[in-house]
Structures are given as structure tokens and as C-alpha cells.
């Protein structure tokens, strides 16, 4: 279009929006030819976090408030700040403030990330799907199952291939999925030939309709090791059912050390070392992440040479959520009985030692050329400065992990960021807030836009819809001097 108006697709009204204007809802607007969300610009306020009485902005009496923490208590985040893309021009806000006698600069911009995604850690032993399986949202491929971690299944979602390399709908659904996860909303995912899982940052996952409660305390073998002493003398045999390594007390090193006699139990699966079995069943969403509902299906027989009528057998999963107690009859067949009270305690202890299952959402993205160019005329210097830890990178005030190697590829826990910190553009791509904080001297040295530096005071004075929110208590204060840092000459 000659007039640079754009079509908003955030709702069915499909407003046609001119540059600098908003649509009928007043929440989406055309900023430099890009459709952006126009929610208020967020600033973090330490006073709100600490629960102190609110102080008026820039009250003169704050010159010295007796507080040992020096430096401004207000940090301007990039949330709602706007972006530089696709023009190579200075970031929307370059703000100076004095911290412990040093002039600091924070460059604040919203980055548009095509190269971005979410690493999802789902605390569950239940089988969600085979490694490399496609993960779908609303039927569209949005990611894949990646290598699992201890007690957790890992999904890798998003990325440029799903966002822009597939069909339009694949890109749209991927963007929506990432946006919802990053903004702390719940999302339903399905794994090809695997489970359906509902995930939300900081909440327990729901696998095939069942809410996960706990992470396993350890693998089956580790569980034997941890609880062998507590079982000693109270039971003749314990099998800890686990999809990874099922443990058998009498054969396990821990049992041998305690002198527990052989029980003659024969367990299915592939024996790894004594008392440790791989692949006792297929992966699934039942006992210990296997597909079995009846634990006896993994016990083939008892050897009459060792077993005896009346032998007491406990079978338990790695989270203690499932358990069954058996005694052998005269034909050495296990008969299920009520769990004796004396064993109940050990089963509950397994449960107690399992941490609450949670979904963790880490946003991961790479800062592209135009974003870095919004900070300095010489983008590679910014990369080096970040690498040398002279420049601190935050996302909405939250600490990030910057990957070693080239570029600025970062990861951040979305639950550390203020609410609704992420937006999107119809490219589709995610919009994430990024702040670069560094000493003013360093900013000048790396070719920063010195003529664009504004004082914190002037930014806060311009009352254009800024919203003050409390800083997250777990985050280091973005303007605090780095630990162990020394004044630089």
C-alpha cells in the first residue's frame, strides 16, 4: 500500500491502520509499518517490591534516604518500549542514571525475534513421546521432543523453521504457542505417537488429562539405594518400578551390603548390573513412566530354589504414587494384601522426597543485527562487551544466561519477567524486551548513540502511559553493581 497502512489481524475486525495510529481496540497500532501491541511501557520499581511506602517520583528528599543500596530504585524495562526493526536507528530509549557514583546507561528496546523459541522442561517420568517426535499445537507442528533430563521430559518449541519456514498456519500457530507460553498462559500440546500434555510456566503439567504431582525421587535403582536401610528387616523383597532402571532390592548392591537373602524373583527386561533392569516394559504414563497398570506383569516367576511361601514383596513406583504389597502362597504365586502399616511410612517417604512437578519455560532467542544496531553503530562491539561481562543484558529486568560463542544468544526464565512481557508481530515473530546496561564510558567507547542518551528523570517525567510494576524478588537488581566488580580505571 502506498500509504503504509497495515492490516491488523488480531481480531476479525481486520482494521486497516495507518502509521502512528491504532486500531478500533486502541491496543494494537502501526508503529513504523509494524503491527505492535501498545500496552503500557513497564518500569520496575524496587519500592513496590520491598513493600515500602510509595515515594513520589524523583522526590528531592530521596537524595539520601539512608538506604545502603545506592543508585536509582527505578529501572526502565523494554516492555512496551517499542522497537527499531526494520530501520537501523537508535533504540527507543537510551537512559542514563548514576549508580554508586558511576554514570550508567541502559539501552532499552523491544527485539523482534524470528530466531527464537522456548525450551520446555516438563517434570514427569511419564512417556510423552519418542525423542525427535513432532510436537503439535492445534494440529500444527510447533517443535519436537528433545533429549530428556533427570526426572523431566524436554521439548524444544518454535524456531525459525516453524515460524517462517512452513505453511502460514504453522507459523501463526507456532507464534501463538510461544507467545502464550512466554506470557505464562497454558497451552495444550500433543506429541506424535505420544501423549497430550497441557503446560504452563510454573504450573504442574497435565499429561493425558491427569495432573502430574511429583518428580521421581531418583531412578528405580537409586530409590533402592536410598531406602534399603529403612526396608531392612521389614520386608523380604522390594521392586522399584521405573521405565529407566527398575531396581530389585535383594539383587542390588545395597541389598547385598545389608545381607538381604536372595528371593528368587525373576524380573523381565534387560539386566544391566545386578538388581538393575532396563526396559521392563514399554514407556507409558502409568507406573514409574511405564505402560503397566498391574506391576506383576514385569515379574515372570519366583525360583523355588530360593523363594519361600509367605515371602513379603513390595512393589512401588519411583514417585511412591503407586504401590502394591504381595505375599507368596504355597505355590509361590504372589497374592495381593493390604500394605502393612510399618511399610506405609517408607512409601510415603518416597513421595515426600519427590519435588512438586512443574513446567519451566525458558525463552531463548538471538539478538539480530538490527537490534544490536539500535544500541551502537558498531554492533560487534556490543557483542564483545556482553561477552566480556561489561554490559549486562536483561529481559524485562530479569537476569538472562548468554550463550558462549558468537552473537548474543540468550535464555531467560519467563516467570521472572513482568506479566505479559512478550508480544508478537504478524511476520510471524515474537517481540521480547531486551535491556543492555553498561557504564556510560563504555557505552561511548563502543560507539553508542551518545546524543540520544536521556536522563532517567526526563523519561519518567514524560508521562506517556508508563506503568510501574514491582521488580521480581528473585532477580538481581539490574542496576546493582556486578558482584566482585571493581571500579575500572
Amino acid at each position: 500500500m502506498a500509504d503504509d497502512a497495515i492490516r491488523c489481524d488480531a481480531c476479525p475486525v481486520l482494521c486497516y491502520i495507518k502509521p502512528g495510529r491504532t486500531g478500533a481496540c486502541d491496543r494494537y497500532g502501526n508503529r513504523e509499518g509494524q503491527l505492535v501491541r501498545l500496552d503500557p511501557h513497564v518500569v520496575l520499581d524496587r519500592a513496590l517490591t520491598h513493600g515500602d511506602a510509595l515515594v513520589p517520583f524523583l522526590d528531592r528528599s530521596r537524595d539520601w534516604n539512608g538506604d545502603i543500596v545506592s543508585g536509582p530504585e527505578i529501572f526502565v524495562t523494554a516492555i512496551g518500549a517499542g522497537t527499531t526493526y526494520p530501520d537501523y536507528k537508535p533504540a527507543p530509549f537510551i537512559i542514563s542514571s548514576e549508580v554508586a557514583g558511576v554514570d550508567m546507561v541502559t539501552v532499552v528496546t523491544e527485539g523482534i525475534f524470528s530466531y527464537c523459541g522456548v525450551k520446555l522442561k516438563i517434570d514427569t517420568d511419564r512417556h510423552l513421546g519418542a525423542e525427535e517426535s513432532v510436537v503439535r499445537a492445534q494440529g500444527e507442528p510447533v517443535g519436537h521432543v528433545t533429549t530428556s533430563e533427570y526426572g523431566s521430559q524436554m521439548l524444544s518449541l518454535g524456531g525459525v523453521r516453524h515460524l517462517t519456514g512452513g505453511t502460514k498456519n504453522e507459523g501463526t500457530v507456532t507464534c501463538e504457542t510461544l507467545l502464550n507460553l512466554c506470557n505464562g498462559k497454558s497451552v495444550e500440546l500433543s506429541v506424535d505417537d505420544g501423549a497430550k500434555v497441557v503446560v504452563q510456566a510454573g504450573k504442574a503439567p497435565i499429561v493425558n488429562g491427569a495432573q502430574e504431582e511429583r518428580m521421581r525421587v531418583g531412578c528405580g535403582s537409586a530409590t533402592i539405594g536410598m531406602f534399603a536401610k529403612q526396608w531392612h528387616g521389614k520386608i523380604d523383597e522390594v521392586v522399584v518400578v521405573d521405565d529407566h532402571i527398575t531396581g530389585v532390592l535383594s539383587q542390588h548392591q545395597a541389598g547385598k551390603m545389608l545381607g538381604i537373602p536372595e528371593s528368587g524373583i525373576k524380573v523381565k527386561g534387560r539386566r544391566s548390573t545386578p538388581g538393575r533392569y532396563f526396559q521392563v516394559a514399554e514407556p507409558g504414563t502409568s507406573w514409574g513412566g511405564t505402560n503397566i497398570d498391574d506391576p506383576l506383569t514385569i515379574v515372570s516367576s519366583f525360583n523355588p530354589k530360593f523363594a519361600w511361601p509367605g515371602l513379603r514383596l513390595l512393589m512401588v513406583s519411583t514417585t511412591g504414587e503407586q504401590h502394591a504389597y504381595f505375599e507368596l502362597d504355597e505355590n509361590l504365586k504372589p497374592v495381593e494384601k493390604e500394605l502393612p502399616a510399618v511399610l506405609l511410612e517408607s512409601v510415603s517417604r518416597i513421595k515426600e522426597n519427590c519435588e512438586p512437578a512443574m513446567c519451566s519455560v525458558l525463552f531463548m532467542g538471538g539478538a539480530g543485527g538490527s537490534l544490536r544496531a539500535g544500541v551502537t553503530e558498531n554492533p560487534v562491539k556490543l557483542t564483545r562487551s556482553v561477552r566480556d561481562a561489561l554490559t549486562r543484558v536483561t529481559c524485562g529486568g530479569a537476569a538472562v544466561y548468554v550463550w558462549p560463542g558468537g552473537g548474543i544468544t540468550l535464555m531467560v526464565d519467563v516467570t521472572r519477567m513482568p506479566e505479559n512481557a512478550f508480544g508478537y508481530v504478524p511476520t510471524p515473530a515474537l517481540v521480547a524486551p531486551v535491556e543492555f546496561t553498561m557504564p556510560l564510558k563504555d557505552y561511548a567507547a563502543l560507539g553508542g548513540y551518545m546524543d540520544r542518551v536521556r536522563s532517567l528523570e526526563s523519561v519518567l517525567k514524560a508521562n506517556d502511559g508508563r506503568q510501574r510494576v514491582p521488580a521480581h524478588a528473585a532477580n538481581p537488581w539490574p542496576l546493582a553493581p556486578a558482584a566482585g566488580s571493581e571500579p575500572r580505571k
Binding site: 489481524d9 475486525v13 481486520l14 486497516y16 491502520i17 495507518k18 478500533a24 508478537y424 504478524p426 508521562n463
Partner: protein
């Protein structure tokens, strides 16, 4: 990327907030707990498709009312058209002038036909549909936020309206050049009480358009489609800025608006109107229903406060 309708309770746990694109509703029902649940359920069900229905007819609804075939159209579209037709012989008006009120009316009706409520309101960005049972009343505050910076949301109440079961009014709407929709006039706010919300929306628009000083060059006007290319008003100039006016100009503009308001009153289309311009307020119609806040000690029902 389409955002589906968002529906949630406000932090007070009583009022329901429903949002879809430009539609933003605050709803509260009063009565028996189970009935309230039923009403909210019915309201949510009706809300889920309203925007899609409207958008499917949008090109038609952006046309001049007199040129539209009434027979097709969804129930909200028919409410819109019915509300603007009484004005279409004398002035340019499209059904979009009544969209907010018509949506409020539609959702309220879905709620009241599903449940037995003592009172209920649906507030669509200041266009409000009311339900009252015998002996009940609502009090609505009228606020003026033009004197302060709008962003600070500091508003002054300039009037209050008490609506009893025995009153005819069940709809309240406000229009002015500072609002979300365009106005051809210079009123900061014209608040209207009518028997139905869709009519209130349309009537407030018509009266606010008339509060004007035609030909005054100091008033900044811009063709509507220069601001919003797909606006139903096309190239008609809409008000973007109004200078401080002297008291003579204020009286003239208010008198122009009042003449139109009185005509609508005589035609039985409205119950009352309050016209507000740079600190001056003119009240037309049932003065008993529209009171200055100093003249009454009625508590301001914050949930009904609108600008």
C-alpha cells in the same frame, strides 16, 4: 494471529470482564447465586460469537442506514439498524453509531432470558444496558476526565443519574470527541438515557455531533478516513482538537446540541440528556433523573462510572 475472546472475572470476583477485539464488556448481575451463574453462562455463550457475526456483515453495517436492506442480518445488526433508522432521514448515520449499545443490549437480553435477576448491567465501554426488577434502581455517575491528563485516569464526577424500575430508561450511552469513536462535534461528553442501550448509543452520537460551532476555524477537524482508512464516516471531517472557548461560544455550542436533544425528547426517542462542554453542563429532559452530585447524596456506583 487471532486472539480468541478473553473472559475472566475482575479481581473483585463479582464482575465479569469479556473482551474480544474492540468489544470490551464489564458485566455484573445481582440476585440469587445460582441465577447469577446461569446468567453469566448465558452471557458468555452469547458473547463468544458476537464479534464474528458483526464482522461478517461489517461492509453492510458501514453503509448509510437508509440504504441498507433490513431483512438479512444477525440480531445485533438488526438492533443497530433499528436504533439509527429514526435519524437517517435527517442526517448521515450508519448502524455503526449504535454498535456498542447494541452489543450491550444483546448480551443483557441473553442473560435476563436465561435467569431471574434482580438487577444487571452490561457496560460496553460506557454504553450501558440495564436490567431492573420491581423496586430496584441503579445510580450512574457521569465523570469528566477532559480537565486532566487522560492517562492519569483522574476523573471528576459532574453528575449522577438515578434510574428506578418505574423509569423508562434502560440504556445509558456517552459520546464526545475525546472518546474512542469519532465525533463531528466539540462536546467533551454527551450522556443520554433512553429506553434501550442501542438507541442511547445512536442518540448520544447525534446530540454530541450537534454540540458544535460550525465554521469555527480554531477547531481542528480531519477527514475520518485519513485517520482510520476503513472508517464508516469516509471523508467526513471529525474533531481532533478544540481550543479553550469563551463562555459565549460555549453557550452557543451547547444551545445547538440542546435543540437537537429537545427534538429527540419530543419524539420520544430519549428520556434525558446531559451535555458537557469545557466545564459547563446542560441537562435536558427528566431533571429528576440527572442530578448534579452536590444536589444528591446518592452514592456513586463505581461500576457504572463512565467517561
Amino acid at each position: 494471529m487471532r486472539q480468541p475472546p478473553q473472559i475472566q472475572f475482575l479481581p473483585d470476583g463479582r464482575r465479569l470482564h469479556m473482551n474480544h477485539g474492540p468489544i470490551d464488556l464489564i458485566i455484573e448481575a445481582f440476585g440469587d447465586g445460582a441465577e447469577i451463574q446461569k446468567a453469566y453462562g448465558a452471557g458468555v455463550r452469547r458473547f463468544s460469537t458476537v464479534l464474528e457475526e458483526l464482522c461478517s456483515e461489517l461492509p453492510q453495517l458501514r453503509r448509510e442506514a437508509s440504504a441498507i436492506n433490513l431483512r438479512c442480518g444477525g440480531s445485533v445488526a438488526r438492533r443497530m439498524l433499528a436504533a439509527v433508522l429514526p435519524f437517517s432521514a435527517h442526517t448521515f448515520i450508519t448502524p455503526m453509531a449504535a454498535v456498542a449499545g447494541a452489543v450491550a443490549e444483546e448480551i443483557l437480553e441473553a442473560m435476563t432470558s436465561a435467569a431471574n435477576l434482580s438487577r444487571a448491567y452490561v457496560n460496553d465501554g460506557g454504553d450501558i444496558a440495564l436490567h431492573l426488577s420491581l423496586g430496584e434502581h441503579f445510580t450512574a455517575g457521569m465523570v469528566d476526565d477532559s480537565q486532566t491528563q487522560q492517562r492519569r485516569r483522574i476523573a471528576q464526577q459532574f453528575g449522577a443519574a438515578r434510574i428506578d424500575f418505574t423509569d423508562a430508561a434502560r440504556g445509558i450511552a456517552t459520546s464526545g470527541w475525546r472518546g474512542r469513536s469519532f465525533s463531528l462535534g466539540i462536546a467533551d461528553a454527551v450522556t443520554v438515557l433512553t429506553p434501550r442501550a442501542a438507541m442511547a448509543d445512536a442518540a448520544a452520537t447525534i446530540i454530541a455531533n450537534a454540540v458544535d460551532l460550525p465554521g469555527d476555524a480554531a477547531i481542528i477537524r480531519v477527514p475520518a478516513n485519513e485517520i482510520a482508512p476503513d472508517c464508516d464516516l469516509g471523508a467526513i471531517p471529525v474533531t481532533r482538537d478544540v481550543p479553550r472557548l469563551n463562555s459565549h461560544d460555549k453557550s452557543t455550542a451547547l444551545a445547538n446540541g440542546s435543540a437537537v436533544a429537545r427534538e429527540l425528547l419530543h419524539r420520544g426517542l430519549i428520556c434525558a440528556a446531559a451535555l458537557h462542554l469545557q466545564g459547563e453542563t446542560q441537562i435536558i429532559g427528566l431533571t429528576a433523573a440527572l442530578k448534579s452530585p452536590r444536589a444528591t447524596n446518592l452514592a456513586l456506583d463505581r461500576s457504572l462510572t463512565h467517561a
